[in-house]
Amino acid sequence: MAMTLNDDQNMLRESARDFMASEAPVTHFRKFRDMGCKDGFSHGLWKQFAEMGFTGILIPEAEGGMGMGQIEAGIVLEEIGRNLSPSPFLTTSVAAVEALKLADKAMRDRWFPGILAGETVIGIAIEEGVKHRPEKIACVAERSGNGFKLTGHKQFVVQGTSSDMLIVAARTAGAVGETDGLTLFAVDKDAAGLSMEAARLVDSAMAAHVKLEGVQVNADAVIGDVDGGWAVLSKMLDAGRVGAAAEMVGVGTGAMDMTFDYLKTRKQFDRVIGEFQALQHRAAHLYGEMEGARSIVLKAQSLMDEGHAKAELYVAAAKAKAGLACNLAVREGVQMHGGIGMTDEYDIGLYMKRDRGLNEFFGDAYYHADRVATMNGY
């Protein structure tokens, strides 16, 4: 595949760019943040996403979606990132949809219509500690009656309390640390024994701490195969990771562009500060880092879309690189803005906060660099 966007993809980019800039720019984010919104996003905007067809971008055409791939999802995510548009797109339309595509027809029929309509939100309940460690899942699902009884806890379930369903990874066999023996479940938010406590995050997103105290689910709640959840989980995580990476390309590029504009207008010592060579070199270096991030993310997306054997390696590298580059962009952004960069009134600080959240999401740059090393055989 050529590493350039085709005409259709460019059109999608235009329309996503126009849509986010007009319907969900940073002022939209500020509005929902400042009202202390309990969801951390606008249900109205989520409906608009559906009208644009975004919510079903990865859902097969036969099931009412757009049947597109990670590249297209990433195009939308980049614009989300650039505008800090709050939405359940990454969790619901990217990660959850990728998991549900591996579920049976009944389950897909139950959830896809709501996603397509922009009415359903799905939470991803994987994390159990402060760092991403999917193979260390300890949450237990015991055989019970016609199904399973889930016991354990989850955290960092983004938009958990706004979700209609949680995808919960639990252990049906094997020991903590093993990838075999995991199973994924679709757990209704109203299930008895399920309780959630929402916490606002630094980037004003909401994330839930979830308790599962003997939550009973039927056998048809299983996504994929019992004990074989790792395959589904890996697919879901990789989609979430490459999606978060694409969003970080948007966040970083947004922060960078804002900063470069500032360098061209701000005066100090009777000169526009963009004339100072030390800042010019840092700007050029940053540009190179962001361009590199954009490239590896596109590469990872296209390998995933091809189903290439190396996709996992490139996704890890993409999540790591996008994290490092976006982090540099927001750090340079705040520093180059100087004092006003520290104020809540200016947007650059919001990008710094968002970067932090996305960097942690589904494993940070160091975690993924370590995976790259492992996959590369050392």
Binding site: K131, A199, S204, F269, L279, R331, Q335, E360, D370
Partner: protein
């Protein structure tokens, strides 16, 4: 027993007798710290008592002369006193920009009357000060300031605006750079003191990305400042300001060492043991941290003996603040998703995230890293060019 050891024993005894038990526990947060001033509300009787006793003993400013409210201690004695306070866990009786910044400037540039009057007020915690330097549009470029004091014979009438005034909304008085000569860029600025209750002074807090508002915008609308409220010579306020900035830089450069030489890695062992690449970052950070502590120690020893280059504090400010930012990036990485929480009790009200965001200002306030590098390059390395 040496004189210093005699002093140590006495200081220890005094502290044990006079420091209330409540004041031997760490302050819980900024609200728990005594800043003094007209409007300060003591959080407890113990806090009030501790301040009063220290004031009486001269221990709010132990190394200031007795005539100006201090205890007249030597540098060695002051160090011993602090060591003993640290051993007992005594809180600082009084925090104040008056102590840290204005006092040293007055000691060098003030008249005898000013020293007795203002330093006495500072020492007794009666007046809380703020600093008026930066202006909108003149961040690193202090000499471009516009706030103007028009000469009206026995007073100036000041008009203009300051920004980044720390706690201006809580301060009683301000020490402020004001242009008093529009024809001379460098030697046309004076260092004035005035009451924040003077008609025409208003303040507006600035909300930061950390969610806190330690700084204000401060507006001056025909503010009358009597001529005797100048420190140093007319139009030579830059000399006072530079002296004071040097002090501020030392203070801020100390920040790199928040956590001292104790590695933050040990407490995070459980996380780091499963994160080899993150652990490596932490290891390399610890090397830098140990280095900075040794560097600071060496700098202070050279500074005290007059061997340090006069611009060296700029280097320390650069290194220390960049290190502190790096430390907080690591704290966030190791803290993971819990460190992202912004309001929860679990996260202590988002303290990690808020501290992390706060540290981003370290390399901006008191001279940006870029300005520090310019100064080091030109003044210490003597690189050519303007």
């Amino acid at each position: 027993m040496s004189e210093l050891e005699t002093f140590r024993a006495e200081a220890r005894a005094w502290l044990e007798e006079n420091c209330p038990a409540e004041m031997r526990t760490p302050a819980k947060g900024d609200e728990d710290v005594c800043w003094g001033g007209r409007n300060f509300v003591f959080q407890s009787d113990a806090q009030k008592l501790w301040l009063e006793r220290c004031v009486a003993k001269g221990y709010t400013v132990p190394d200031w002369p007795k005539a100006y409210g201090g205890a007249g201690l030597s540098p060695q004695e002051t160090k011993v006193l602090r060591q003993e306070m640290a051993k007992l866990g005594c809180r600082s009786p009084l925090n104040s920009f008056g102590i840290w910044m204005l006092g040293p400037a007055l000691l060098k540039f003030g008249t005898e009357e000013q020293k007795v009057h203002y330093m006495g007020q500072i020492a007794r915690g009666e007046i809380r000060w703020c600093q008026g330097y930066s202006e909108p549009g003149s961040g690193s470029d202090l000499v471009s300031m516009q706030t103007f004091g028009e000469d009206k014979g026995d007073h100036w009438v000041v008009n203009g605006q300051k920004i980044w005034t720390s706690y201006a909304d809580k301060a009683d008085w301000i020490f402020c750079l004001v242009r008093t000569d529009k024809t001379n860029k460098y030697q046309g600025i004076s260092f004035l003191l005035f009451d924040m209750q003077t008609p025409g002074v208003t303040t507006k807090p600035i909300k930061l990305i950390s969610g806190n508002s330690p700084f204000c915008e401060t507006f001056f609308d025909n503010v009358v400042v009597p001529k005797h409220q100048i420190v140093g010579e007319l139009n030579r306020g830059w000399d006072v300001a530079k002296y004071l900035l040097g002090h501020e830089r030392e203070m801020i450069s100390g920040m790199g060492g928040d956590g001292g030489v104790t590695s933050i890695g040990a407490a995070m062992k459980a996380v780091l043991s499963e994160e080899p690449v993150l652990r490596a970052q932490m290891a390399l950070f610890d090397v830098e941290n140990l280095t900075f502590r040794a560097h600071g120690e060496r700098f202070m020893d050279e500074w005290k003996t007059g061997k340090a280059h006069p611009a060296y504090s700029n280097l320390m400010k650069y290194v220390g603040t960049e290190l502190n930012k790096k430390r907080n990036e690591l704290v966030m990485s190791i803290g993971g998703t819990q460190a992202l929480e912004w309001e929860s009790e679990r996260s202590n009200g988002g303290s990690k995230a808020r501290n992390w965001l706060r540290t981003k200002a370290n390399s901006i306030e008191g001279g940006t890293s870029e300005v520090m590098l310019n100064v080091v390059s030109k003044r210490i390395l003597e690189m050519p060019g303007a």
